[in-house]
Amino acid sequence: MPEQVPRLLAVFLTASVALVIARSLLVPDTFGDIGHYRAAATDSVVAHQKKYAGHQECALCHGQIQEMRLAGNHRGVRCEVCHGPAANHVSNPLEVKPPAPQDREFCTLCHEYNASRPTGFPQIDPADHNPHVPCIACHEPHAPEPPGMPGDCSACHGQIARQKAVSHHSAVPCTTCHQTPDEHKVNPRSVRPSKPTERDFCGACHAQERLAGIPQIDLTAHNPAYLCWQCHYPHYPGTS
């Protein structure tokens, strides 16, 4: 055998032995027993000090509030989501009191308008919606309900409302163009507002020569095959 071969083999053998030794020293004993992780990790996690008590523990003393919560819109939000880990409070109820957040910033973590939130989920624009008033002044946090049905479309459609507010249509109320059944406020997805289906609807303002300062068109000549809002975005007209 040429002398190169044993020399090279010695190098690879050393590297392989080093890897085996390193593995025996560094890989935890219980690694791979259950899955691709250290099985004893579950025991380490169990050994951690318990911080959360669980909402059943809360119900033992605060049964009335628990009932109210379970019947309301926050039935899926457990006590410790807002009040924080309560294990210490459970073991020492008189001395350790859990916090009760009152800042608007806390509620807006879930309720600030965000386009990626599902339609119909209560969302507000904190800058517009009663600024500086704590949320809990109007809404009971354990069973929140809107103080009434949303009075204004902007409560849910804030982005459109803000865009319209700076457009030429700022003075036109939403309900001029959208016929909105009251049921829409309760079941926004199943009952939807209407949209204009006739060109004459826009023509009421935009094909009347007597309305000075408003863009005028000839409805018969101006792209008669299309509805106006197919080209002109009505919440921000002037763009197409």
Binding site: L8, L19, A22, V27, N114
Partner: protein, 397 residues
């Protein structure tokens, strides 16, 4: 930001360093495949670049993992992929692909190829250098004709193993992207093949650049036969690479999946400069046409006959443009795949930071580092085959 994007798509998770990683890995694979031309396919003209290609591949391979380590942020944990290998994870298996390529292919091939010279340098040197070269020979100092014949034969076999290994190394990088089925910009079975051929293109172009620059600084004449051959192979590789990319492009267009609209918006806006201008026009079409005219790829001596000095400049410009183009390919794949929303309704933006662990300064540093390593490697293991080194070897051998 434009249109609608999900909240978690606002910030790009894979940054400039992840652009750098496939770029560097591609250079490794490409340089090695170029070296195999001489060794396995007996293309004698490129012999002056054989050792330079191997050292270039090694220098870049040593740096290839650093962008990943910097990006992940916990380099001290990297050994764990060797300790507890996860065969279900393509990313986790990279450590083994890398180790195989580094230890079994590249280092062993370099060792067999240099052994005779290292023995000669060991015998000719004194002090530290003598011990360094002795350590590098692993104590194997037999340079009898029989031993050298074995070196040559072993080197050839390792190169034969090395070609599929180089394909595996870079095909793997394309596989990582191509197998992300949720991302229509990445998910394509052609991805590993496209990556591979762009790697070959970038590797040949880099070695061509390095050969010209090092020869220039050593005040040696450039071997035009070698340069022409390199340019010829560069042209062929570029033709295949461009065809595959166009095939992928046409396939996407013909399929016209629901993502096609947002992808075309992205190409026309966010990626216009990097894809249309840098990758396709400057990085591919111009070098392709130029090499087609000047290199012997289509006609012996090329269609346009110019003086060798002018031809060298043309090749140099093409190689630089190709490097820009290949880097743009990596950019367009990695960054492009994260610029559009999975809702297919919006585009986000990526702003490169300058400092910071994933910034431009770090990227430039990591891009410069292989050249420093290559400089050291060249000092220790001179790859030159001209008279100077040959005479030294002869005198001591």
């Amino acid at each position: 930001m434009q249109g609608y994007i999900y909240p978690n798509e606002f910030e790009l998770q894979w940054s400039l360093l992840i652009v750098l990683y496939p770029y560097i890995t591609g250079l490794v694979a490409g340089a090695f495949i170029l070296a195999s031309l001489e060794r396995v396919f007996n293309v004698k003209e490129v012999q002056p670049t054989y050792r330079l290609s191997l050292l270039t591949a090694l220098a870049f391979l040593l740096v290839a993992t650093l962008p990943l380590l910097a990006h992940l942020g916990h380099p001290e944990r990297s050994y764990e992929i060797f300790m507890t290998p996860n065969r279900q994870s393509a990313m986790a298996m990279f450590g083994f692909v890398y180790a195989w390529y580094l230890m079994v292919v590249l280092l062993v091939e370099i060792w067999f190829d240099y052994r005779k010279d290292m023995v000669a340098w060991y015998r000719d040197s004194k002090g530290f250098k003598r011990w360094l070269y002795y350590a590098l020979t692993l104590g194997s100092t037999d340079i009898s004709e029989k031993a050298l014949r074995f070196d040559d034969s072993a080197g050839r076999w390792i190169t034969i193993i090395g070609i599929p290994s180089a394909f595996l190394l870079h095909g793997y990088v394309g596989f990582i992207f191509g197998s992300v089925k949720a991302n229509p910009w990445w998910s394509s079975v052609l991805m590993p093949v496209v990556f591979l051929f762009s790697a070959i293109v970038s590797g040949i172009a880099l070695v061509l650049l390095l050969y010209m620059i090092t020869t220039l600084f050593r005040w040696r004449p450039i071997n035009m036969a070698c340069l022409d051959k390199l340019a010829q192979f560069l042209f062929y590789a570029l033709v295949v690479d461009f065809s595959l990319e166009m095939l992928d492009f046409l396939h996407r267009l013909y399929e016209s999946e629901e993502s096609i609209e947002i992808l075309s918006q992205m190409i026309q806006s966010r990626l216009f400069l990097s894809l249309i201008v840098l990758q396709i026009l400057l990085g591919t079409v111009i070098p392709l046409v130029t090499l087609g005219l000047f290199s012997p790829g289509l006609k012996r001596g090329g269609f346009v006959k110019v003086r060798p000095e002018a031809k060298q400049l043309v090749y140099l410009a093409c190689a630089v443009l190709i490097q820009i183009g290949i880097f743009s390919i990596r950019w367009n794949v990695v960054i492009g795949g994260q610029l559009f929303s999975k809702s297919l309704r919006g585009l986000t933006v990526y702003k490169v930071e300058f400092l910071g662990i994933e910034g431009l300064a770090m990227t430039l540093g990591l891009l410069f580092l292989p050249f420093v390593i290559l400089w050291i490697l060249v000092k220790v293991l001179p790859p030159w085959t001209d008279q100077e080194v040959g005479r030294l070897a002869k005198a001591t051998g």
